[in-house]
Amino acid sequence: MPDRPPSETDPVPTSNESPQGIDKLTKMVRTRPGRGQIIAGILLAMLGFGAVVQGRAVSEPDDYAGARRGDLITLLDSLDKARDRTEDRLRDLEATKLDLQDDSTNTQAALREAREEAGALAILSGTVGASGSGIVVRIDDPAGQVGASTLLNVIEELRDAGAEAIEINDTARVVAQTYFADETNGVSVDGTVVSSPFIIDVIGHSHTLSEAVEFPGGVAEIVESLGGSVDVDERDTVDVTSLAVRREPAYAQSAE
């Protein structure tokens, strides 16, 4: 505030006494800032700063600072109880989780078993393709003497030897219910007509299978006696790709 001469409205000392009380304060406020005022200002700035900082530090929220001992104990007790309840709940939930995991594991095991069984059954019933070690039997029949019964003989021998999947000429899958019938131009296998040369893909133990075909007095000799020839080829991989005719049981029902 600039120093200005006293005006009529300003309170001025009316006597020669040294200025008193409020007048002194007014004078202090008005005097030209000297060194003392500046230093006092700096120190008071520090004071104000410190006071505000401290005030803020104190007013930081501390909800429990003023709480009574009894209240705090009650609060602590209720927190303990809440924690106990939560822990109980946690235990229950974990037990449930374990149960569910067991269930799920059992279900998965059952499912896996069922899938394996279904796969095995599918191969046996000829509803899926199969591949594995086995033999390829080639029957040449230039004389046209090899008919349904001879072919059935061959198939029976192969079944006895543990054939797991059989197909003829890559078109006719042979399963348990497969029938063979003579046709004018060959043999009907489940309605699919195959003709010489018959190429029979068989999956199973290849050595056992070839023995079953070639043993003395077996099917190979029968075919040869009919003027044909039998050629057995053992292979590491035989692919059976054709599918059997689909049959729905008309009379039989699952006993389960």
Binding site: M1, S18, Q20, G21, I22, K24, L25, M28, V29, R30, T31, P33, R35, G36, Q37, I38, I39, A40, G41, I42, L43, L44, A45, M46, L47, G48, F49, G50, A51, V52, V53, Q54, R56, A57, V58
Partner: protein, 110 residues
């Protein structure tokens, strides 16, 4: 005038900057503030008594603050920090009251 301005600047600065009190200074700040308050009231009283001297003010202000902090520090080290803090605040409070009483007599003549 400058003094009042300084006080205002300090207050506003504290409000704007919002500094965190360092943990090391936390116990001493309140006592220091009370001590500074005492020095300030003492200075105002001295001014009204026509014996104000800025050198005295500066020295009393700083020594008040430092001694208050030292007492608290000593109290903390001796394990009686709370009691000594209370003692310092009581003493400074009495001084502030007496200073304010003197100022009041100057201003209101009562």
């Amino acid at each position: 005038m400058i003094a009042i301005l300084g006080l205002a600047i300090g207050l506003i600065g504290g409000l704007i900057i919002e500094p965190e009190v360092p943990d090391a200074l936390r116990p001493y700040l309140p006592i220091a503030v009370v001590a500074a308050l005492d020095a300030s009231f003492g200075a105002l009283r001295a001014y009204l008594d026509d014996i104000f001297d800025d050198k005295v003010f500066v020295v009393s202000f700083l020594s008040n603050v430092i001694i208050a902090a030292l007492i608290v520090y000593l109290g903390d080290k001796l394990g009686v920090g709370n009691q000594l803090s209370t003692g310092v605040v009581v003493v400074l409070g009495i001084r502030i009251f007496s200073n304010v009483a003197a100022i009041r007599r100057h201003i209101f003549h009562a």
